[in-house]
């Protein structure tokens, strides 16, 4: 039996992915913003926290995107903000995905006590509004970039776990799993070598979408003033610019535009991949 992750399968998937217009456009958008984020320290821009410019100056040759209420260069802050937003988005989604995939698989494969406990955990998290929990955790423990990542991951993993569980439940009924059992393979071996590779593609596509959700969540938390005060993040910039939204709208609108651009890119890629790996799931 040819697995979904075999070489020919991968080549076929790559061909499908390249043909999907939304994935290609989304990837280009993400690469552009990713490139800016990676290059930010090497581009000739002012230090993001130096307050050496006139305050509230609109976009000009000196400050291409203007300056904020403290006289900081917005271009520099937006580019460094891209680093923070992307880092938090990717790490939080990655962590949520690892937790979700492991727990979801175990709960789907072992329908015993362990499975029941994990199911219960997923159910509990399902009724706790994620944003609420994140707020409480950040206020209680104080904000930092790492805590933001952790908090977003802790509050969003159940979504991936549910998808993974459903996938594992259906994959484990397939014939090759039975064959593996028949020749005496252990449960863990079957789960990790045979079931998870077949069950994982939708969970991975959801992980991509989760990056967008995590970036939005970080922005929302930072907008409430709960972000890491040491680094510029887009949400925090919007928050800081809101009092001047009438007199100096660019302070808020420019980071907002970057935020929307990035999330659109992520969603284009995520939705496209989801359509490819599982046409049925994409319809939700």
């Amino acid at each position: 039996m040819v697995g979904e992750l075999s070489t020919s399968g991968v080549l076929r998937s790559i061909r499908l992915i390249i043909r999907d217009k939304s994935v290609v456009i989304g990837t280009i958008m993400l690469l552009s913003i990713g490139l800016l984020a990676v290059l930010a320290p090497y581009i000739n821009i002012p230090y993001f926290n130096s307050m050496i410019f006139p305050r509230f100056s609109p976009p000009s040759p000196r400050n291409p995107l203007g300056t904020d209420h403290l006289g900081r260069d917005i271009l520099a802050r937006v580019l460094w903000g891209a680093r923070i937003s992307l880092a938090i988005g990717i790490c939080a989604a990655g962590l949520a995905s690892v937790i979700g995939i492991v727990l979801g698989s175990i709960s789907g494969y072992f329908r015993s006590k362990v499975g029941t406990v994990i199911d219960g955990l997923i159910n509990v998290f399902q009724v706790i509004p994620a944003f609420f929990l994140a707020l409480v955790l950040l206020v209680i423990f104080g904000s930092s970039v790492y805590l933001l990542m952790l908090v977003i991951a802790i509050t969003t993993w159940p979504m991936i776990a549910r998808i993974m569980r459903a996938q594992v439940l259906s994959v484990k009924e397939r014939l090759f799993v039975e064959s593996a059992k028949a020749i005496g393979c252990g449960d863990l071996h079957i789960l990790f070598k045979h079931v998870i590779p077949h069950a994982i593609p939708p969970a991975l596509a959801y992980t991509i979408l989760e990056i967008g959700a995590a970036i939005m969540m970080e922005a929302g938390l930072s907008y409430l003033g709960l972000g890491d005060p040491n680094y510029p993040s887009w949400g925090r910039m919007i928050y800081e610019g809101q009092p001047y939204i009438v007199s100096a709208p660019w302070i808020s609108l420019i980071p907002g535009a970057f935020l929307v651009y990035t999330v659109i890119g992520v969603n284009l890629v995520g939705n496209g991949l989801l359509r490819i790996v599982n046409p049925k799931l994409a319809q939700r």
Partner: protein
Amino acid sequence: MGLASYVAKRVLEGFFTVIIAVSIIFFLVNLAPGNPIYFIAGDPVFLSPAVVEYYTKLWGLDKPLYERYFIYISNLFRGELGNSYRFGGPVAQVIMERIPLTLSLTITSNILAFIIGTFMGLRAARSFGKGLDSALTVTTFFFNSIPGFFLGILLMLTFGVHLRLFPVAGLMDLRNPKTGIMLYLDIAYHAFLPVLTLTLILLPAYFKTVRDSAVQQLGEDYVLTLRAVGMDERRIFNKHVFRNVILPPITLLAIRLGFSLAGAALIENVFGWPGMGRLLLDSIRERDYPVLMGIYFTIVVTIVVISIILDLIYGILDPRIKSRG
């Protein structure tokens, strides 16, 4: 499994879910560093040891943690949410004042999003692959990718500040207070922009669900037959396809209504709407833990109750779900 035992099982499950969820927050909040008394007092100048001792006694903070936990849980069973640190009054009262304000935003926008989204989804499927379909898909995709609070700021800037069509923020016109029916109209006028923001944010999911499943129906035999007998396209969609695609968006609506007490915190913050979300943020900032826990308890119970009701309705409608129990 019979319906009665299924109900009993779901209710029991829901009960434990609520207890566990409440316990998690209780311990998080009570293990948090920092004494709430200092936050309420503001400036340490106002604090004498006597005052600290008085409030510690009053709020029961002198008892060990596990004892406070059992007191809290047993109070919950008696419907007691305790007293607010900030306002002094009962938490239930503080929360009840805010609930209608938040629900007026969230229920209105959820229902609007449901109706408009479903209608748009059917309309897009009717012209599948044509210009209107793509236009609607792209538009809703955009609103799905913009954070609600930022959309709120944009709408506020456009309609409130530049066009001056709607008030920028607040619940009512404080400089020119109204009475009677005019007061409600004034509140509705102030609610317009937050409701618009929420509707636009909530709409894409309904649109996508309905459009995609309606498109799937296009190839079904009954659609072909109805077309063959020459039925009007609009009638085919609004009557027959509609029936086959309406269940998922209704489920989505029910789930979202469950979250509707919590769902608008950021947007309430943008528009200065004094609802649950604002109360939540204020009580977190001010360390008003009883109110915080009370809000949380209310939200969790609402979500659990609605999900049980939803399960029951499906259990009755679709016997297969019940037996899976």
